[in-house]
Chain length 219, copies 2
């Protein structure tokens, strides 16, 4: 029972999303001093089948020890490796509104290895002000800044109408990845990674689900 192929398969998005959840879970387990965990236990905690969990873990470069399940310490290490959680990533936040400023102040990011090296806005009144210890810079500086500081990922926290223009600017600056927080879809060339955490969109999804559940109830 060996993990034959050395993690050469691309991880599909649904599996990748689940792996981030397992990562939070295994950290919790380690804090609780749990040494081993079975695929069934992981599945129960995440509303999945054990089969799905085992398929997901096939993407990791580690294997179960004996029939006690998976060693939590090794599990965490394998996940750290998948996420490059050893390395520190450089972030730029685009948009210094409430959300952008909160992200820049949010300790969670630095704690997880994501250091915010710059925050940008197009509003002249905001430029030059400080968010914590980070100075708000003009959008005109984005390109040079990304290149000089080797920014890996940009977080787009601007109004929806501006999102695509900002994305275009970032792509032209040579950014590797974009986290899109806006309601809008952004189009980028294939070499650039985009992941979404669209808060307002999620509220619309919830509205729909709640609304249709209520309608069903009336029938």
């Amino acid at each position: 029972m060996s993990n034959s192929s050395k993690q050469r398969k691309k991880i599909p998005p649904p599996a990748l999303k689940r792996l981030t959840k397992y990562y939070a879970f295994v950290q919790e387990l380690l804090e609780q001093g749990v040494d081993y965990i079975s695929s069934q236990q992981i599945a129960d905690r995440h509303g999945l089948t054990s089969s799905t969990v085992r398929q997901d873990l096939l993407y990791l470069d580690f294997t179960s020890q004996s029939q006690r399940g998976y060693n939590t310490y090794e599990f965490k290490d394998a996940l750290k490796c998948v996420f490059g959680a050893d390395k520190t990533w450089k972030l730029a936040v685009i948009g210094a509104g409430n959300l952008g400023q909160a992200l820049a102040l949010h300790g969670e990011f630095a704690r997880r290895g994501f250091n915010i090296s710059g925050i940008f806005d197009s509003d002249p009144k905001k430029i030059g002000q400080f968010v914590g210890s980070t100075k708000i810079r003009s959008m005109d500086e984005v390109s040079v800044f990304v290149q000089e500081h080797g920014v890996d990922v940009a977080v787009i926290a601007v109004p929806a109408q501006a999102a695509q223009d900002v994305a275009d600017l970032l792509v032209a600056s040579g950014i590797k990845g974009i986290l899109n927080l806006t309601l809008t879809h952004i189009v980028v060339p294939s070499g650039v990674a985009v992941v979404e955490a669209r808060i307002v969109a999620s509220l619309f999804e919830l509205s729909h689900i709640i609304k249709s559940a209520e309608l069903d109830g009336l029938e």
Copy 2:
């Protein structure tokens, strides 16, 4: 060519997510004074096939007019209906850290019909303080508040370790929907809707994608 069955099919999550994007897009089109849009144009703007777009629009209670494509005004109305965007939704924000406070101050929510009626934290030092015009309340008050104010949706913006406990409390309070912003998966009974916008998790996904693209480049 009639939209025979009256929107009786449940919208699967991937389609629902795309519909939120079309919603942002059609608003942009209306501002630009565009009257008609084809499935192909929608597809191009969202990196999809026209076939997927037409399948998605089948979930809406509207139909194309002539062979010019879809009327943008009717399209927007159909989407508004799906999302219950006519109605105002009541939100509670759980967690008054940087992120929770930013959400409470973020004008975008109110503008979209999501009114924040309460914000809660477990830190005694924060309780009683104000975020804008909203007073931070104790977690002990969540249950009564949700019931008395008829809160529809709660946004969980607490540290990952606390997320499940908060979710349990919200479920017990009779909440209808939860927006989970934490790294962790939360488990809820089947009557409660959960949608996720996990910002830190998305950064991990990006890290992985960038990292493996770089490794591929070396081969």
